[in-house]
Symmetry: C2
Subunit: 360 residues, 2 copies
């Protein structure tokens, strides 16, 4: 077995300890005589798994009692419809468009009411976060929507927008559990787990209880109604059981690592190694304005497409995988999620230095 350093933007690296445990438990989970994949979702043994996963997440994020934790299928893309279908009572919502995912959410919402783009950073390839201190929030807006960390562009809201009293809905897919958040500031926080938590195939939505009602738009499918899942504690139908189990293991790992304060410190340290190098390199340059840089996704370029391609190829040969940037930004991107060890980032910077020396 030889593991690489995997800088994929998602699905992404998972903690080795977690994978090892999963492999060990594959044929027989804790004396149950079966794999977690083979268990009835109504069984006691699975009930313990899902309840413990939820509790560990609540502990990690300090989730207030008036928020429900929902394990849902369909990815963030399905939330793009589910959110307006459940929240657009006035049929008005304000979107801050800071990347491809926020844009898709904004476009999908137009099916269900008046979605307003109240700010955007598309003018500069989404390389910054717009000033959101005094935006033209709609008077009758049902919510204000953001994508808090932009996986493709490598930006992050360091400060939440001033929603002028309106509900904040946030896609936190690529910064989920990377640092502490104040859940009470949001109406809904949600994210696909396949970036910073577990395997693909699940979204975790943290939804304030008063937003969970039967009063949804006409034609909203039962499965796209938050109340369906909240009432059934995410067991209305068979959930992605194995993903819940894997996420639960990652929650335990995070607790063992010291929780989200410790992860934040570790993530800042990791990101600084890379950003500090970028800031002094004569060859590599970050693409994001400094104050909006993500701790999780770090895009960078040489300015020369052929050189970029050479770098990605040689890095791969050196065991540094998935460094090719998204086509809309070009160049490279290193996603350095929670499970990326500090040694991975050090190796990357070491390799970049060597590459710079050899190719400048």
């Amino acid at each position: 077995m030889s593991r690489v350093y995997n800088f994929s933007a998602g699905p992404a690296v998972l903690p080795e300890e977690v994978l090892r445990e999963a492999a060990e438990e594959m044929m027989d989970y804790k004396g149950s005589g079966m794999s977690v994949m083979e268990m009835s979702h109504r069984s006691q043994v699975f009930d313990d798994i899902i309840k413990e996963a939820e509790q560990d997440l609540r502990d990690l994020m300090n989730i207030p009692d008036n928020y429900k934790v929902l394990f849902l299928q369909g990815g963030a893309s399905q939330q793009f419809a589910m959110i307006p279908m459940n929240l657009m009572k006035n049929k008005v919502a304000d979107y801050i468009v800071t990347g491809q995912w926020a844009k898709k959410a904004y476009q999908e919402a137009q099916k269900y009411g008046k979605a307003n783009k109240i700010a955007s950073s598309e003018d500069k390839t989404f390389s910054y976060i717009p000033d959101c201190s005094d935006l033209p929030i709609s008077e009758d807006a049902d919510y204000v929507y953001i994508c808090e960390n932009n996986t493709i562009y490598g930006t992050k809201f360091k400060k939440l927008p001033n929603t002028k009293g309106k509900l904040l809905v946030s896609d936190i897919s690529s910064c989920f559990l990377s640092e502490p958040v104040d859940v009470a500031k949001y109406g809904i926080l949600y994210g696909g787990v396949q970036k910073n938590i577990g395997p693909a195939g699940m979204v975790i939505a943290i939804v304030r209880e008063d937003l969970i009602t039967e009063d949804v738009l006409p034609g909203t499918p039962t499965m796209l109604t938050y109340k369906t899942h909240a009432d059934a504690e995410s067991l209305y139908n068979t959930p992605n059981c194995y993903c819940i189990y894997m996420c639960g293991k990652v929650f335990k790992w995070l607790k063992n690592m010291g929780g989200l304060e410790a992860m934040k410190e570790r993530n800042e340290k990791k990101a600084a190694i890379l950003y500090d190098f970028l800031d002094q390199s004569k060859m590599f340059h970050g693409t994001v304005v400094k104050e909006d840089r993500s701790l999780m996704n770090v895009p960078f370029v040489t300015g020369d497409k052929e050189l970029d391609a050479k770098f990605v190829k040689e890095a791969k040969a050196a065991g540094l995988e998935n460094l090719k940037g998204h086509r809309s930004v070009g160049g490279m991107r290193a996603s350095i999620y929670n499970a990326m060890p500090i040694e991975g980032v050090e190796k990357l910077v070491e390799f970049m230095k060597k590459f710079e020396e050899e190719n400048l």
Copy 2:
């Protein structure tokens, strides 16, 4: 490691060989240096996995070229909305209600048009399949809907309904890959994979190409539009990658077992062991009329609730797990899917004989 015989109705038993391989590949899939859970769904290595899985399924089921294979999230319950949203052009559909799942599908369809219950077996706790040779099919019906194998009640359509030329849509969740089917007889066949194929968290929908259009009901979410997934070959957004990988392994296993003809023979042999015993037992009785019996799900009762409970408890102690029947039927249910070895059914019947001797 000590494995039990797991008669769960789903999630359910998986082939031991498949689980063992998955465990072995957990830390490093075929020299990639990463787990399948950690791979970008856009990577070459994952592309090979999903393409091979689809091809193997096409081979197994002999799927005609004019049908798309879609790997979707949300379970059958989400299909209950997705089907009318995509197919109800005339806003009329006919439902044959042979159990709880068909009933739920029928109820959900009422959100989107006129859903007619054209036949039902609810009068006798869904213990039979109604005569479907000459039903009052609606003239403008967009489709006729069935649930082909009823997991809870243990019935199966041995003959498809006469739809009088209308499109047939079938939920095959609990008989998926248990025997050959003639795909060309259906407009859509679909099923949750967590019963007879893989881990929970995915539906496979096999959809005739001409039914895949942009002409869906207004307000249909992008993610609930078949065309979205067909155009992107199930990679519109991140799918349940690990589930696709596991299903792919099961497809290989089925091919090695000799394909669906061989599985049918094996399943008939397995089911006969149990049904033959039930037909001569003085204590245990099947709950389904003989001609409609499922090969996959076998409900049975003693007629005495306390005795049923005693049986389930003692069977569990003997390593025969998840034999408790669904609350709406009571008694016991043995789900004997593809991956249940013949020895499991033999052990069960042996145990039933012994229990009968001791308790009659």
